[in-house]
């Protein structure tokens, strides 16, 4: 899921300085799961707004804020509250914020910083394991992604900074290449070590990404 966190309060105070009445939007998917934009957080945000001397005209938790059409549909049910508001505050990832901003004419204030596509290690602890490179190498690397979990995204083995199997940028973290090596060894195969991996084809990841299912697939 997309891991996001609430922006610092000072930044939010500045972003909201010109508005007194706000409509709050949360998201029932990722932002709920990582406790940045679910029901609890929307409620707390409303309390915080009140402390700041501002009013909430209403709120909605959208099923998946990144779904542009669904966001539009859910917002339509809150016409009056939206009309009353000076602006909307969105507690969702950057995608979610943009679904909302593309659906309304009012000013939209993003309340969260979006960080990464994260796995849940345990509740409240998230780790980035895939950075969506468009050309997945996991089948050769025993299911451990060097593009993401190596701090330098190296494809041909560890850098000179590896110390006792740990990463040069953080001695607490194991070097991705050391993990790949250990797991391939336990699987008794060479995997990625059998060849020199050529430079990555970053044209697979041209920004902004666009993808369409073909007619038969829809």
């Amino acid at each position: 899921m997309i891991i996001s966190e609430l922006k610092p309060f000072e930044e939010l105070q500045q972003a909201l300085a010109d508005f007194d009445k706000l409509f709050i939007v949360g998201c029932a998917a990722c932002a709920t799961a990582c406790k940045s934009g679910g029901e609890d957080e929307v409620f707390k945000f409303q309390e915080w707004l009140n402390e700041q001397g501002k009013d909430a005209t209403g709120s909605v938790i959208i099923d998946e804020a990144c779904h542009i059409a669904r966001a539009a549909r859910d917002l339509r049910h809150h016409k009056t509250a939206l009309q009353d508001a000076d602006a909307l505050v969105v507690l969702a990832c950057g995608s979610g914020i943009q679904s909302i901003s593309s659906n309304v004419d009012k000013r939209v204030v993003g309340g969260l910083n979006s960080m990464f596509l994260g796995n849940v290690r345990r509740f409240g602890q998230y780790e980035e394991m895939c950075s969506l490179c468009g050309d997945c190498i996991l089948n050769e690397t025993a299911g451990i992604c060097p593009v993401t979990t190596c701090a330098k995204g190296l494809l041909n083995g560890p850098c000179g900074g590896m110390e006792d199997g740990h990463c040069e940028i953080d001695a607490e973290i194991e070097c991705a290449w050391s993990l790949i090596y250990e797991r391939l060894k336990s699987q008794q195969r060479q995997g990625v070590f059998a060849r020199r991996v050529p430079p990555k084809n970053w044209s697979r990841r041209i920004q902004p990404g666009r993808y369409r299912l073909k007619d038969g697939e829809r």
Partner: protein
Amino acid sequence: MSLLSEQLGNSQFVVTAEIAPPKGTDLSEALAAVEKLTGITAVNVTDNQGANMRLSSLALAARLQQQGTETVLQLTCRDRNRMALQSDLLGAASFGIENLLLLSGDHSKFGDHPDSRPVFDLDSVQLLDMTAGLMAGTDMAGKFLDGVPEFFPGAAVNPAAEPFELMFQKVAKKVDSGARFFQTQSVFDRETLERFMLAMQPLQVPVIAGVLLIRSARMARFLNDNIPGVQVPETLVQRLDSAEKPLTEGVKIAREAVAWARELCQGVHLMTLGHEDEIPEILA
């Protein structure tokens, strides 16, 4: 053909040193330091070393090369994508620079621009492959070059890295990708160097052992805490700590490492960090 490749080819014991470009445009100190170097085959010019922004290694290397000093141009993947790396290599060749040390580069987190976006479009193996391609007359897109560069590409290795086998498979890849010599991270004990040289034997690629002049126990501790891949053993830290003149002890420690290199390797790479005047003592 570069002097370095010639001497290594003739199994002569080579000595390289290194110099860092200034932070700013005043080259006088760097040029004066190079002036003082004696008995050296080539001088490495570091590339934003430790991820600290400095004048371009290519500019200083070009200057040195033009005044008749043979250089080893260091080039990292941290700050340039594949296009910039290729351009810089062609540029280097146009100044007569042949010796290269091709590196991944320390992460930008360690330097003075921790907010910058690290590039790492290529890794060091791919950089070596690309260099071999340029030498064969084509760029990474397969386009033919008008004027083909002549290089003597080298790579880096940390002989003390663990797991050893994992580190070494990359060394083998680097050799496959055209590394013609290795310069090592500083070595601090003989066994580590011996083990590494034994593994290197079948590959038949010359190794220039890194020797670092450690001025004090404080510096040793700083290196241990801050420089990736450098671990000064506690016994050496103790020696520096209890020495009356730590610098003299540091020179002595370096001299011991040079002795191992003379026995086991094809050269030494001296990292003296401003104490270039100690080089004759270290080599004595």
